[in-house]
């Protein structure tokens, strides 16, 4: 035990001492804040002034009315009207090219009857602009149609009072105080953190194994410790570093989130969503921590074996690609899981041990997993961790002393059997 402890400490201290650890630990949260800030900045940019022209091809007063209504409904749209005619579209097109206007809306009688209209502009890729334009048009046309049938304007206005849906998450029969948006961010954040940390520290274990192999230090080590002790020490040591880094990240995100919220509430206007650190219930945190630990041990053991069977950094990087791909599957399906946390896909992802470390916490973030399913998922994962560690230790034991060409699958099976 004393010997294993020495390995754990070396792994931890040597990693924490590197410049990269500190850069990663400090820069990680800053980077996150930076990305969120950048996105907010871009979102803010998107809400700028737009100049557009309504090309009125109607035979009624609808075109004039629409221009006025559009202008008053969306103040940031500066709307002018021009009558349709030959060559008008070309002229406006040239204006868009010259950036005199952002775009123009082609309106004729068909709009009221069939709901057809066309917008041409340089800002069609802006989701915010187009959504606002489309929804405003829908509302205006809706009102115009009703009024055409002689419905009272007041009634029409009342009919158009929009719904503001407040979303609150219920968990364990209680309100969690978590909004739908926060649920999403919790799930998303967990998926990113789990993926990044498991991958990063798994790869760390791999390069650490490889370093001992290429420098041949391993020969002295293996003559004093059992290979299994060495592997376990390495995995635990590197994992401890990951845990520290994760704690720093989550802690600083919480602090920064608090600061952000205070900043946001002190300045007038909407609260920037990105800065809000979601309230995480203890159960969610426990699920996250449990799956992180088990997931990390699972992948770290695999990475240790990959390191042991490779001879160079380049070879190892190549050999770990399949491992990375497997871990990527639950990461990429986090959106589907959040969309429908009780779908068949989500349930399977929770049960398959190579995916559950990411899929289960994400699913939990969206909706608590039934206790039986959760227990089953954890038992399967734990059994897999033990099994994989056993196999990995055997590959590791033979691999660390081998040089020469990388073994193929058949040889690997022989290693596992022989050890």
């Amino acid at each position: 035990m004393h010997k294993v402890w020495a390995v754990i400490r070396r792994e931890f201290v040597e990693r924490v001492r590197t410049r990269w650890f500190w850069i990663g630990t400090i820069l990680g949260p800053l980077l996150m804040v930076g990305i969120i800030g950048f996105q907010l900045l871009l979102a803010g940019r998107g809400a700028g002034v737009r100049r557009m022209t309504v090309v009125d091809g109607t035979t009624t007063e609808f075109g004039v009315w629409l221009t006025v209504q559009l202008q008053s409904a969306v103040p940031r749209f500066h709307v002018t009207r021009t009558a349709a005619g030959p060559g008008v579209a070309d002229t406006l097109m040239a204006q868009v090219e010259a950036k005199a206007i952002d775009g123009f809306l082609l309106v004729d009688d068909a709009m009221l009857d069939q709901g057809k209209a066309e917008y041409r502009g340089s800002n069609v890729s802006s989701v915010a602009d187009m959504e606002q334009l489309e929804s405003t048009l829908r509302r205006l046309v809706f009102a115009a149609r009703l009024e055409r049938r002689g419905i009272d304007t007041l009634v029409v206005q009342q009919a158009q009072i929009p719904i503001h849906l407040i979303q609150s998450k219920v968990s364990g029969g209680k309100l969690t105080g978590e909004s739908g948006r926060q649920s999403f961010f919790t799930g998303f954040g967990m998926a990113v953190l789990l993926f990044v940390v498991i991958l990063m520290y798994g790869v760390n274990v791999m390069s650490s194994v490889l370093e001992e192999k290429t420098t041949r230090v391993v020969e002295v080590l293996v003559s004093s410790l059992r290979p299994f002790q060495l592997m376990v020490g390495k995995v635990v040591g590197a994992g401890a570093v990951g845990l520290v880094q994760l704690t720093v990240w989550i802690g600083s995100a919480k602090v920064l989130g608090g600061v952000g919220q205070r900043l946001a509430s002190s300045t007038a206007g909407a609260t920037p969503v990105g800065f809000q650190f979601p309230h995480i219930p203890a159960a969610t945190f426990a699920v996250f921590a449990l799956y992180f630990l088990l997931g990390y041990f699972l992948y770290a053991a695999i990475y240790a074996a990959v390191g042991a069977m490779s001879n160079t950094e380049a070879e190892a990087r190549q050999a770990q690609v399949p491992v990375q791909l497997v871990l990527m599957i639950p990461y990429l399906s986090f959106f589907a899981i959040l969309n429908d946390p009780s779908s068949e896909l989500a349930v399977w992802m929770t049960l398959i041990p190579f995916w559950s470390p990411i899929a289960a916490p994400v699913r939990w973030g969206a909706r608590p997993i039934p206790p039986i399913e959760l227990a089953l998922s954890l038992v399967i994962l734990l059994a897999t961790v033990i099994g994989v560690t056993w196999v990995a230790a055997r590959i590791y034991r033979v691999g660390i002393l081998m040089t020469g060409k990388r073994p193929n699958l058949k040889e690997l099976v022989r290693w596992v059997r022989a050890a």
């Binding site: 004393h2 010997k3 020495a6 390995v7 070396r10 201290v13 040597e14 370093e211 001992e212 290429t214 420098t215 041949r216 230090v217 020969e219 002295v220 080590l221 293996v222 003559s223 004093s224 410790l225 059992r226 033979v398 002393l401 081998m402 040089t403 020469g404 060409k405 073994p407 040889e411 022989r414 290693w415 022989a418």
Partner: protein, 321 residues
């Protein structure tokens, strides 16, 4: 003789395609310098790795310090091991590497620190103890490696090809250290294919080739058994009819005659005394008649000569289990 410190009993290790060590037995008594000699690919490193518990023998057993079933790992606190392929963590500080390697062998951290500092001072590396290993010269790294081998004051020191790659200064440091260890009652087992080192250092030795033992025992005994077959003769003035004696193929297998001086290789079973009588009765005036003890190198080449070339083609470190 006390219980053997290292008792290797009929160990065999096979790797895919060839037998690296074949039913080899060696016994290293306490307090001696024991040489494990053989050409490249003879199985020296494999034998040492089995002693150190790095490989498990396919057959046979290894006993250390008289304990049944206890290989190198169980006794790591009492064994210093310098592998043939040496290496340290290049990015670690010198002192930290030494402390870690000592801890891995079971030494307490604080004691390891003190000892490491002492040794670094003794070998003139005190100023480097907080530097990274990669900043050290090759010679300095070799010194750090020695220190890591003996820091925990082991009773048994196992050195695999310790002189390979050493600069002359470190080579001398190592030789002195080895002799000093024996003086302090330690047991040293080392492998080499360079016979000059073995001849100067060994008390006992074992020569192996292709995984099999060819000869073992005390250096003097080996020399006696395999030596005594060379005679140097010097004449004063006329050699008389000595030439006829030297030409007698029943007595002399080969003679290098320089006129006043001749080196003779005796024929198998020939008695040097008979040659002496023959020379005297032939009227030669002898100023010198000496039975020459052959060098270990000569014995080695005689024993493994035809083998060496073939064995060298087999890699010493197996590529695949």
């Amino acid at each position: 003789m006390s219980e053997a410190v290292v008792a290797v009993d009929h160990v065999t290790k096979r790797f895919a395609g060839h037998t690296a060590v074949d039913a080899l037995s060696i016994s290293v008594p306490s307090g001696v310098i024991y040489g494990l000699l053989g050409p490249n690919g003879a199985g020296k490193t494999t034998t040492i790795r089995m002693i150190m518990d790095i490989y498990e023998p396919d057959a046979g057993s290894v006993r250390l310090f008289g304990n049944a079933g206890g290989g190198g790992r169980a006794h790591s606190e009492r064994i210093g091991y310098l592998p043939e392929e040496r290496g340290l963590y290049p990015r670690m500080r010198v002192l930290d590497v030494l402390v870690f390697l000592a801890e891995a062998k079971g030494m307490q951290r604080r004691a390891a620190r003190t000892k490491a500092t002492e040794w670094l001072e003794r070998l003139g590396l005190a100023d480097w103890r907080l530097r990274k290993v990669s900043e050290l010269s090759k010679g300095m790294q070799q010194k750090v490696q020695f220190i890591s081998t003996i820091l925990h004051d082991p009773d048994l020191v196992i050195l695999d090809e310790p002189f390979s790659g050493l600069d002359p200064v470190n080579s001398q440091v190592l030789r002195d250290t080895v002799v000093d260890w024996r003086r302090r009652g330690k047991t040293i087992l080392f492998s080499t294919h360079i016979m000059e080192h073995a001849e100067k250092l060994c008390d006992q030795l074992c020569i192996i080739a292709r995984g099999k033992k060819l000869v073992d025992g005390l250096l003097s005994a080996v020399k006696q058994t395999h030596g005594g077959k060379h005679v140097t003769v010097a004449f004063d003035g006329a050699a008389g009819s000595a030439a006829s004696v030297l030409a007698d193929r029943r007595l002399v297998a080969k003679a290098d005659d320089y006129g006043h001086y001749a080196e003779l290789e005796l024929a198998a079973g020939a008695d040097p005394q008979e040659i002496l009588r023959g020379l005297v009765s032939a009227g030669a005036r002898l100023t010198k008649f000496e039975l020459v003890e052959p060098t270990l190198n000569k014995i080695f080449i005689d024993l493994v000569g035809p083998d060496a070339a073939r064995a060298a083609a087999v890699p010493e470190t197996p590529v695949r289990a």
